[in-house]
Symmetry: C2
Subunit: 414 residues, 2 copies
């Protein structure tokens, strides 16, 4: 069963907006066992949309279209689809009630322009859009399906998860897809691949493995494909072989990112955290505080960018900075211990390094980073050497390294 995606919008063709809709839809469809054959972006031009729809309907089992559903006059998808399927626009009761419900909840009257959002081609089935006024429309045509969705990302994603994918699965009797993420850190992708090859070769044919490396972390994603009537409780991913070969590099399961894993771990264990960041410049704090509920464990942090702040706000000794420099094991340890004393948390993270592109020396080139993690009983520090020309990448890799070291400290793992 294969799918073509068509995203409509001039803003995509001028590069004003990154087309995250295509990747979100592709990811959700792939995770649900469907194959995306092609994606296209066209502008708000009748002929271009028509040609794209016509081509896709000849080549794919299902065609998903986003955009062109607003109440303004340059939004032409509904008229075009009505004509393409030889239908006519009529007012749909469910769609109108939805528009009225949403306007009422915001305290507005429904204007004629907004009422027009309830007009849909007679031949389609409306799938209710709980989050917005633009309708989601399902067309069945000669054994194929076309679905038109609004282009607003959060409405589109909600509709995909709650309306479109379940109905596509039912219509096409697709396989069940199960996935499992395993976060691996401290080993390069190619070494990891060699190390776990015996396990990979032993995987059953319906389980696939993908490597997703990002900023010093490798996410292993296992995907199992099962018949649509398979009894799910009897299925388990075969992970024993992976753990016996590479257990020391595995920092967590079932998370997409290390900041999510740290968040989950600290909440579960009731431990508090404070941070002392120099080269990561607040990136560690903002990744944790971007997650709802961070206040239950995150006390705060110091972004100690200058040496004065390392001294005044963290209590790093002046002599340490003079004798060993700001980027040194001695300094990073005093930062980690200092922030615990000052901010009073169970655990701390400290980073100091030269993110680049300037500031390097022969002895400490750009990309030299010291990271420490500390508890009341133990402080671990580590030297890292990253590349010279990638400031943001150095920040991201330092951040992931710090998160992984913290997880290892909490779980008493080296």
């Amino acid at each position: 069963m294969n799918v073509t995606i068509i995203n409509i919008g001039d803003e995509l063709l001028i590069g004003q907006v990154v087309n995250t809709n295509a990747s979100t839809m592709s990811r959700l469809l792939t995770a649900a066992g469907m194959e995306v054959r092609k994606t296209m972006v066209v502008g708000d031009i009748y002929k271009d949309i028509w040609d794209a729809v016509d081509e896709a309907m000849r080549e794919s089992d299902a065609v998903l279209v986003t955009g062109g559903l607003g109440p303004t006059k340059d939004d032409i998808t509904k008229k075009l689809l009505s004509e393409y399927f030889g239908s006519e626009l009529i007012e749909n009761n469910m769609a109108l009630e939805n528009v009225e419900r949403i306007f009422k909840s915001r305290g507005y009257e429904v204007t004629p322009v907004n009422r027009a959002q309830a007009l849909v081609p007679k031949c389609c089935e409306v799938l209710n859009n709980d989050l917005g006024t633009a309708p989601c429309m399902w067309f069945s045509h000669k054994g194929r399906v076309l679905v038109s969705l609004p282009g607003v990302p959060f409405e589109m994603e909600w509709l995909m998860r709650n309306r479109v994918i379940p109905k596509l699965q039912e219509t096409f009797n697709t396989d069940i897809i199960l996935t499992k993420n395993i976060l691996v850190q401290g080993i390069g992708e190619s070494f990891l691949s060699d190390l776990i090859e015996p396990w990979e070769l032993s995987l059953p044919k319906n389980v696939k493995l993908a490597y997703l490396p990002v900023a010093g972390l490798t996410k292993l994603r296992l995907t199992a494909r099962l018949p649509h009537n398979f009894p799910l409780s009897t299925f388990h991913f075969p992970l024993e072989g992976l753990y016996s070969l590479a257990g020391k590099y595995i920092v967590g399961e079932d998370c997409e990112t290390l900041d999510e894993l740290v968040h989950k771990t600290l909440v579960e264990r009731g431990l508090t955290l404070a941070t002392a960041e120099s080269c990561t410049g607040g990136n560690i704090a903002r990744l944790l505080t971007a997650q709802a509920g961070a206040s239950s464990y995150f006390k705060g942090g110091v972004v100690a960018y200058s040496n004065e702040v390392k001294e005044s706000a963290l209590g790093v000794k002046h002599e340490t900075l003079i004798d060993y420099g700001a980027v040194s094991e001695e300094t990073v340890r005093e930062m980690a211990e200092g922030v615990r004393n000052r901010l009073g948390a169970d655990l701390t993270i400290a980073t100091t390094g030269i993110a680049g592109p300037d500031g390097g020396t022969a002895e400490k080139p750009v990309g030299t980073v010291w990271i420490a993690v500390s508890s009341a009983t133990k402080t671990e520090a580590k030297l890292l050497q990253f590349g010279a020309n990638r400031r943001q990448q150095n920040i991201d890799r330092s951040t992931n390294q710090a998160f992984a070291m913290l997880i290892r400290l909490i779980c008493q793992k080296d």
Copy 2:
């Protein structure tokens, strides 16, 4: 002169990678005065690539293709293009020297697999890829052009800017496009549009205006289209009318973002900054420190997430927190002044608020945010009320509001 973009790669169709190449290319082409008609993504499948290339070559003046150029066997673009244009693969001297140069600089020997990267269709012109081993290939065919680029984003972008766009401009004698950004803050998009309508209507026909709103900021982008031989020194964007109508809302020109504007302003004026962040959780610090050279003005910051840290690290009075609460004008002022005293900077920013989704009360609902900026002589505080259900959006809007207030304080503008 119009362009179709084809991005090749299975990783795009499964949604593992967001297709930023399409938006980067679209943005650069649009900025250079070319029209992107359509973009397509296809997988590493011979027939699908062939059909996409064939369709695009019939419809567009220029076709840009990314991906499928690596040395591994699933990368098939070169073979396909050679066949499509009726040519044959030969070793290209310039491409081989480029591979050898790059391997030498990394201290590796060129293996036969890598040497194969210098094979290109005989009929193409190689545009040198200074940043990587995959060649960029330019095909002329019946008055149309196809360019094949590597899919690695930074190589692609460098080639677009330095090789492909200049050559397209020369080949098609395209117009010159000049752009100017104006950052506007403190007024909603629709009010701004009404306010500056007289100026907008007076713009010459070759100057277009676009509104790019993001997180409480509106970027106005002016684009002028001039004939390719126009004497550039005689052209000026007509901004007087805009400033006389909306000058009080304009915070800067010629930057893409407010963090870039703050960075530039502080470097130019030789002023130092420190931050005290609660609800923004380090986001302000990390946006500034993400820019090379931030150490010349950024002393550091405190992420004061808990009340204890607001007291211990910033010196906010215990009674203030008890009497007025953490989210209050009194607290945010003490945070801004406290971080200046503790960290010793010319200017400070402080934020405190309820980012959500939890933590709101009837009196202070989710989205209530206080922001202060402070110099040695003046502290300004402002209350903002954002929406309830968007944690990240509240963080981003608070961040932009803080940056705009800082710019106004520096420039003595209300």
